[in-house]
Assembly symmetry: D2
């Protein structure tokens, strides 16, 4: 493993730390074609960056993300900043010839996403978007079973991404609730995008949607205690048709009492059904119509070394798989993708589709009709 990949991470919050954990442990978990190095960390101030770099194990730090992006030693730029900054950062990184992994949602609109994907294509750099939940072995297994025909032809998809982190109306305003910083798609952009991406991964692209969104807590206090208007949705729901003709529906909420990580899907086929719930992330439920009638029932498959990726973490089935393990699979994909050993997915180009679905849902609500994904305005 002579080759090294120097990572520069922008942002030291939740995802920045998760990336650092994953990058540190990665070479011990997997045999990799290159060793990822936590090289530089950028946050909004030099002092804070230096302190965080020490804590998270980066060699260098900066209070200016442009410095990181332009540093010749950096091979890969990881963007973990608020959504509205993604475009500028990613374009700068691409311009500097860096490979880029960017947190989701990729940008404020599908147009921005497309601009970023175009730039990456022209520059010939590798990209990946942080739709990390599809990196779960249980979801990889779901895809394997679908491809192997174990549920027959897909008939219906229902997906959710429900959480309740904003259910308390007393929680303060934040950038996530503002149009300029997080787009007018709230739960739709932040959460539904995960399950849209999973639907894409499992059932192919989406052709058409109709939906609606709503704001339940219309105002929240700012830091001065003054109420300000929330500018994007707390909750969304939409019907969809995949390009394959399969029917489906998706819902997402950030105020769904009791749901902590409620990314779920149910995929019904002509010969079986798959059920998944990210709150029990190391299980896949499977009903098989070919079992003898008196022995039929949903079985709970505990993920183990007989399924994708898990065996690198632990040799015992059902011993547990965690959030950061999922991020490690994502980083493994990235490293191997950059080294040409694996196709990358979802790239910026693939995330354009997710963003187009989000945009189409918004338009379908404004125009009260079914909207084709990618339909011109």
């Amino acid at each position: 493993m002579a080759r090294q990949l120097n990572f520069g991470v922008i942002g030291s919050g939740y995802m920045g730390k998760a990336y650092a954990i994953a990058l540190r442990a990665l070479p011990t978990v997997f045999r990799l074609p290159a060793e990822p190095i936590c090289d530089m960390l950028a946050t909004t101030s030099a002092g804070r960056a230096a302190e965080q770099a020490r804590e998270l194990g980066f060699r260098r730090s900066t209070g200016n993300w442009r410095e990181l992006v332009e540093d010749p030693a950096i091979d890969v730029v990881a963007i973990c900043s608020p959504t509205y900054m993604h475009r500028e950062m990613a374009l700068a990184a691409i311009a500097a010839g860096k490979h880029v992994i960017c947190e989701k949602p990729l940008a404020l609109s599908s147009a921005e996403c497309a601009e970023m994907a175009d730039a990456a294509d022209r520059a010939g750099v590798c990209t990946l978007v942080g739709y990390n939940y599809i990196k779960n072995p249980a979801t990889a297994l779901a895809r394997q079973l679908i491809e192997a025909g174990e549920i027959g032809e897909i008939v219906h998809f229902r997906g959710t991404h429900n959480e309740d982190f904003l259910m308390d109306p007393g929680l303060p305003m934040s950038w996530r609730l503002r149009k300029a910083f997080a787009s007018e798609a709230g739960a739709l952009g932040d959460l539904a995008s995960h399950i849209i991406n999973a639907a894409h991964f499992l059932c192919g692209p989406v052709a058409e949607v109709i939906g609606e969104s709503q704001i339940i807590h219309a105002q929240r206090p700012n830091t001065a205690g003054v109420l300000e208007a929330v500018e994007n949705d707390d909750q969304t729901q939409f019907l969809l048709r995949f390009e394959s003709g399969v029917m489906g529906s998706i819902e997402a909420s950030r105020i769904a009492a009791g749901r902590k990580m409620g990314l779920t899907y149910e995929i019904v086929g002509t010969r079986g059904t798959l059920l998944f719930d990210q709150e029990r992330l190391a299980e896949l439920k499977y009903y098989r119509a070919d079992d003898p009638p008196h022995l039929q029932g949903f079985r709970t498959i505990l993920i183990g070394p007989e399924h994708p990726d898990y065996g690198h973490f632990c040799i015992g089935t059902g011993h547990g798989f965690g959030y950061n393990d999922m991020i490690m699979v994502e980083m493994r994909d990235l490293v191997e993708g950059i080294c040409g050993e694996r196709p990358l997915w979802p790239r910026f180009r693939d995330a354009v589709h997710t963003a187009e679905v989000v945009d189409a849902v918004g338009r379908s609500q404004r125009e009260r009709r079914w909207v084709k994904v990618g339909e011109s305005e």
Copy 2:
């Protein structure tokens, strides 16, 4: 209990037998204002009717339903025949001054339902429609908790009624699959109507819908083995707005592999959430945001004597509640309703709303837009 109510049941299939079981056991389970009597059974032939009457415990039988409807000794007519016969039978029973309980869906269209409801109103007879699942104590508890404000203001409703009894494409054609006998609403009319009714019961009437339906197995063999076209949907899904403004969605399928009695709902409120699954019919899951943060989680409430109706069947919590027990609650409601001791719900009038929602979903698909429930053509 000097008063008696003579029941005449039309149809000796699945529901006819369930009614007979319930009527027989009813006076032992509940203290009733009147004793229901299994008086007469009507099926399509006199011989078959006589045999079935003996087996199910009816005093008399007939091969001609009009004879039953017009018999002066009959107080209540129970209609358990295929959908297309409901209207004629119900109108005849009402004309003869009988109280009527009719299986669901009430009729082939909302117009037919309204005609029947109007006739009943004019005649001043009592009516009930066999949306039996809302008679479950768990669902009665859900309504109690909602009314007591235990989940705060309702924010979202998601309901399903998924089964798989028609998932095998080799199963033969039947009246349920034909427009003339079961309407052009297949799973939509037969199954979604149950969960639409439950939504009505729990969250109030529906104002607007948009949806679509599909036929997956387009042809099925008739008794001669010749393939014939299936004329109504295997599966449906739609978005809805309640009159209260609450957002929701409903789906139903008769080909949902693995689902045997998949009537489920999730009702999210501002302070809690309720989950129900008819496959575990004696449980209600409840999340309460007011629990201390480190002790929060969905709790599984096992239904017992501290909840509605259950104590009449058994004094031990969690000892079990069955399908026929639910029918007994329904019959108890009917008997008490006829005796003026309890408001009846859902009456024919209430089922008009369910039928209007079904009709509106159909129209929303044809016109590819949101349709108001009850919107004039």
Copy 3:
């Protein structure tokens, strides 16, 4: 169904009502060789008996159980009185040539049980003991699967019967807590006996045990509010060896917080495992080692018409099965058993074994060693 069987029921409490419900509905559910009639009810006063008879649907009543037992019209005596009265009532009924169904536990000791079984054998009457939980279709399926070899050779049995109806230390003294009325086996006699019987049904007779019991709430208030000593155990646990050599364990409690009907068992075999929990009485969980490795997992089988008995109640799988349905299966067994169409189980003779296990657990605690079931004192 010309033949009739006149039932005389002693006791109008919980079980008396359950019997009445079952007997009333039985002929509508099953095709029976004889019609059971709710003929006479006996309770402790003539007035109360008359009132209850009216409510529960008996033709006649008495305040003197001997009158019932000796009435020539009575064919079957059902004993639903407190345990300490079982022996005298059953012996009188047997002496009068009646068939007898008796609630569990059958008597205060295995010696009493054996005396009752001997009397029944000499008189040639049919007997049945009210271990109703084994009448559940899910448990009948478990036995079918074991007999069909679907889990290979049995390796281990673990059973529980945990409830919490006495967890509140403020609940008053009752006959169940007194040695003279309910034996010195409290939870052991009242609850563990159910799961011992189920173990016997599923895995054969028990050869040896060692266990211990404890009283947690040593005193309870009598009706005058004065604290009195509780005389039998709140909780028990024991290890056992079946005659087959299989190892197992059983526990029971009447103070197990949260358990409402916690009769559960896990039966591990060399090729699979079965799990059952009476709180979800219409499900059986099954793990099959012969499934392909990546598709293995416990499956949840929902009970339906493809399993024993259920189809008589409902034609839809997973539509629900209740406590009183289970009692109906028990009564069906009794009626068919009396008519010679089915072997009865568990008879008085079979309940002797259960009582011997209970006695042996008591002795094993006193002598602090393994005790053979039936070992002479």
Copy 4:
């Protein structure tokens, strides 16, 4: 974090890799008083050690564990070798003044364990034994709730550690199945020891036991295909009394079909109950008797930042927690313990108790009676 702790790990199998992953990621997850360094790896051959050291990220390697143990730069020795080697390695490490973490079971008998604990005490080095499952935040929460009185006084404990990795009788002989290498306690020593340790952690030390064990697959093929005798148990079960007087039971199996990581416990108290299952390691079920009667039920608490340790890994409740995360908590405990910032548990001294329980179960089977833990021979 100027201070560094050089780790020398003996063994590069399953646990060796898990330790390496944990040590690498640890400083990024937690703020530590010292930085753990993967310094040296020892396996049975120099070549293999060098290769594995490269893969797992160790600086140095050796084919001779004594070299590692005696290396002056090593601060902590981690022993991940088969059980029979623990004693010799640990004593050598202690003699060299190293801190030691040793995999479980600590040694072949309680006498060996005591010898090792004595040596550590005399040398004044820190020790920890790899009973990693108690490091799970869910179990830490269980202990918190018990200590806070949330379930009242403990009444009963039931624990299991069931897996099925040896259920296939065709699997070959291994050191785990031989008396000389793994003791005569098979599942009892390897698996039950985990749940004994957890019982100790949650309910205090055990005073008395009675149990039995069995070998189901008596012979297994060696590498030449010749059948050899299995020398220790496939399965064990025992009753126990804690020193507190609380009653309990434990079972363990390595052939329990369907169980992959079946470490479970149920702790019943006078005011509530806790349920845990390691197959759903980020959940704790809790029943609270103080809830209003109609709202009582087991709640499923998803572990989050409001519970112990989890927040260092992820800020979102219910986002997942994995096997290697648990090992990181263990290593954090070790590093902080060595730095004097936290009491270490379970130390070698604490594992003596576990071993004494195991020994007592063995003796109770030989002598067919209750045996006091630590009872002299």
